[in-house]
């Protein structure tokens, strides 16, 4: 019998579309019957969405960039 544990342990393959058809059907049937697992899948997907957005967040401030520029200028001798 497909359990919540099976969904959790297969969630990565499910998201990456790597499940075989039999497991996929069992997982989707279970999720349809189990609101806890539905909430798990929804929050899992949402987590991937929001953490993926961090890629666009600038880490380097203009001050950090400027300090690097000054450092490089002082240390690099032109060839």
């Amino acid at each position: 019998m497909f359990m919540c544990k099976d969904l959790v342990e297969n969630i990565m393959s499910y998201i990456d579309n790597e499940l075989d058809l039999e497991t996929l059907n069992a997982l989707e049937k279970h999720t349809g019957d189990c609101p806890e697992c539905m909430a798990f899948v929804n929050t899992y997907k949402r987590m991937l969405e929001i953490t993926g957005k961090l890629k666009d967040k600038p880490f380097v401030t203009p001050e950090i960039r400027n300090r690097l520029r000054i450092l490089l200028k002082s240390k690099i001798k032109p060839s």
Binding site: V8, E36, A39, Y44, R46, R67, L68
Partner: protein, 219 residues
């Protein structure tokens, strides 16, 4: 004719014939390593400053430590860019340099992280069910989180920084930088199954942490 002059001539032709932003990383490295083309080096800095600082910050979890590592890496690159041998993608090589430089820095500062183990981390109970564990903290439809405001970002960053280091690096490269399992395996010099295993536990831990934090956060 002097070789340096020929290289400069070639670089001038390359620069003229296409925008520097369209030049590949590997070509930029060659331009800088062979003739000290500062425009090529500036372009490398522009492309990778955020990635290197962001990754160093993810490992060290401290902005001033990350900046030390960041500066050291670019200083070393400016002097020894020719040590890149082209055996892997330049970006992969640079991420590997960042990992090594970050660990070396932390060791030199005697900063050791007490890593918790996530080997057996799972949200289900001993019967394999999630009963009563997920729904009451379901934040998946909260618009204040989805719009990704400043407070939400602080919470997300806090949760990621609670991951143990060996999971945090994998999570950063795979889910934030969007690299493939194979690229992460190459950078961290661990197997692809190890990448997948660490990523799986990292995501389970992070989903739980975010649920706790967002549950407590104002609505």
């Amino acid at each position: 004719m002097e070789i340096g002059f020929i290289n400069k001539l070639i670089n001038a032709i390359v620069s003229d014939s296409k925008q520097i932003s369209a030049v590949s990383d590997e070509e930029l490295v060659r331009m800088y390593a062979q003739s000290g083309d500062e425009g090529a080096f500036d372009e490398i800095v522009g492309r990778y400053a955020d990635k290197i600082y962001g990754f160093a910050l993810r490992i060290t979890r401290n902005p001033s430590d990350a900046e030390e590592v960041f500066q050291e890496i670019f200083l070393t690159l400016s002097r020894k860019l020719e040590t890149f041998r082209g055996e892997s993608k330049f970006s992969s090589w640079l991420y590997r340099v960042t990992v090594n430089a970050s660990y070396m820095y932390l060791r030199s500062q005697k900063k050791h992280e007490n890593n918790i183990s996530l080997d057996n981390y799972a949200p289900y109970d001993e019967h394999g069910t999630l009963m009563g564990r997920i729904m009451y903290k379901d934040w998946s439809s909260r618009t204040d989180i989805i719009i990704f405001n400043k407070e939400a970002v602080i919470i997300i960053e806090k949760a990621i920084n609670e991951l143990p280091e060996f999971c945090r690096t994998v999570f950063h490269l795979r889910d934030i930088e969007g690299l493939s399992n194979e690229e992460v395996s190459d950078i961290l010099e661990i197997s692809v199954p190890a990448v997948k295993s660490r990523l799986h536990r990292a995501r389970l831990f992070l989903r739980d942490k975010l649920s706790d934090y967002f549950h407590e956060w104002r609505r």
